[in-house]
Amino acid sequence: MRVAERTRPDAGKAAAVIAESSVPSTTHDGRRKRRGVNREGLEAGRRSTRTLLWVLLAAAMVLYGFPFLYLLFTSFKTPIDTIAVPPTVLPKEWTLENYANALGRSGVVASFINSIQTAVISTLLSLVLAIPAAYGITRYKTPSGRVFIMAALVTRMVPPVAIGIPLASMMASVGLADTPIALSIAHTTISLPLSIWLMSSFFEAVPRDLEEAATVDGCSRLGALWRVVIPVVSGGIAVTAIFAFLASWNEFLFALLMTAIRSQTTPVVIANFQTQFGLDWGSMTALAAVYSIPVILLTLLLQRKIVAGMTLGAVKG
């Protein structure tokens, strides 16, 4: 369909002039730049429309970003100001008191270590299991592979509340009750299907010739996977690792059902603030901020890769 190649008279030129003066080239790649018209497809053309849209975007961003900023501001208030009536947006007095209180509580620092341990073990476990499985599914396209990837998808629908209790009693019967290992296994039931799905998409993009050349050169099939294919998809492995890590880091229900004091992760500790110590909002906001900010920063730094990973499954076509 090349209808758009039809010449567009003055309207097009006018749009081009306006676009030129207000915005630099908005084409995604040079190839599509035609007739000096800088807009393409759905991009808005008229300047007034664009201004209106920017205002709309600014409003949406303020509304969307405000809740978390308010959490941050609150965490710097004094404990009394935290629950002042009426509340203020900004602290009257900036202090780290809430942070000191939160991190000083017994079990809080230990819960951080538990969270990190659990998430790291679960991430490694997911990768070790998902990489060969996804490779087996995409490279050989056997009927068993097709059945397997469907089964993995169905697993996503299982409500954690349904398998949490049986899982907990299984772990207890092998002496793993209340350990980071047991919880990381539970978290892997969530991240493994996702990891298989993601890794399959990444392997799909690797040209076959690559391993064929390696096998001709005397590499075994496992050797070709290890030495040739895995280095090529290392970016995809990183994305998968981030998703598996986040799934475990933020998980709450399994952590609630499967841990007691010893291996409690931070989400459970945050939730417990509510009952155990009355309503200590100040410390809760401080701990929530400390727990969220590292992962927000990490993911914003790696955002390109993450966006690719999130949309892969859905938009493969």
Partner: protein
């Protein structure tokens, strides 16, 4: 000796398959098995086979039927609002083009936040007395009194209030997926329609949405499944209250199991819930997605 490709593929898949069999399929089997027993909550207590008694009790209980309807309503509210807002944002980002890229990234940040933290944060914003939302609406002159709306204490609206953090958390996901889908629509097609005189609404409903159909299907199904399992945000905000008005299925099963100590009944509820989810998901995939047809 060289094993066949087929066997090699099987060998590669076996560890993951075994893991899912042991840690997902077996617990599910236990769940279904437990649903036919009356189980004492005390470890090592009596365990009597009662046939379908737990299923009969589940369907006969108001709590179960109520939780079922609430879960459905909650899912519909969450997914509908997320879809509308996500599509709006995706179209906004697309029409603004490349210069909006930084903001697209910033818009993603709630996806990294733990649901428990999001629930807590919104509870803090909506709570009676020192909640900021009531105060701001009062100062703006919309409410006569900051506590006029009991976001989390009025049984009539609480199910909507507890959905807000969920919507806030994952509209970004919806937007991201739809945005990626929009980038795949050829610009030529849109321009051709514009030249033929198509205005914005018909462009949206006649061209964009039909072309996005597969992407929309995936996004709705993925988010629908997640919303129907919502637990963390509701537990931390209201614990299912007031008067069970925000008690969804996950919460009811959790409470039946832990608080009321009836694992048999909870297992029957869990089994029904799982079967219903599978049925709805397959139905949704089959009707909305329609792989291989028109799109």
């Amino acid at each position: 000796m060289r094993i066949s490709d087929r066997r090699f593929a099987l060998f590669l898949m076996t560890p993951a398959a075994l893991f899912l069999a042991v840690f997902v399929a077996y617990p599910l089997f236990r769940l279904v098995a437990d649903s036919f027993f009356k189980i004492s909550p005390i470890a090592g207590g009596p365990r009597d086979f009662v046939g379908f008694q737990n299923y009969v009790s589940a369907f006969a209980s108001d709590a179960f039927m109520g939780a079922g309807w609430r879960t459905l309503a909650y899912t519909v509210v969450v997914v509908t609002l997320e879809f509308a807002l996500g599509l709006g944002m995706a179209l906004l980002f697309t029409t603004l083009g490349r210069r909006s890229q930084v903001w697209r990234t910033v818009f993603l940040y709630p996806l990294m936040i733990a649901p428990i933290v999001a629930g807590l944060l919104w509870k803090f914003l909506m709570i009676d007395n020192f909640g900021l939302i009531g105060t701001l609406l009062h100062q703006a002159g919309i409410l006569s009194n900051p506590n006029q709306i009991g976001w989390l204490s009025d049984p009539n609206i609480v199910l909507f209030s507890v959905a807000i953090p969920d919507i806030w958390l994952t509209t970004s996901f919806m937007c991201l997926v739809l945005f990626a889908g929009l980038q795949n629509i050829p610009g030529d097609l849109i321009e051709a329609a514009r030249l033929d005189g198509a205005r914005a609404p018909s462009l949206l409903f006649r061209i964009i949405l039909p072309l996005l159909r597969p992407v929309i299907a995936v996004a709705l199904v993925v988010r629908g499944i997640d919303a129907a399992r919502a637990f963390d945000t509701i537990l931390i905000q209201t614990n299912g209250g007031p008067q069970s008005a925000s008690e969804t299925m996950s919460l009811l099963i959790y409470r039946t199991m832990i608080r009321f100590g009836d694992p048999g009944l909870a297992s029957a509820m869990g089994t029904i819930y799982l079967v219903a989810m599978l049925a709805v998901a397959f139905f949704a995939v089959a009707t909305i997605w329609r792989p291989g047809k028109d799109t």
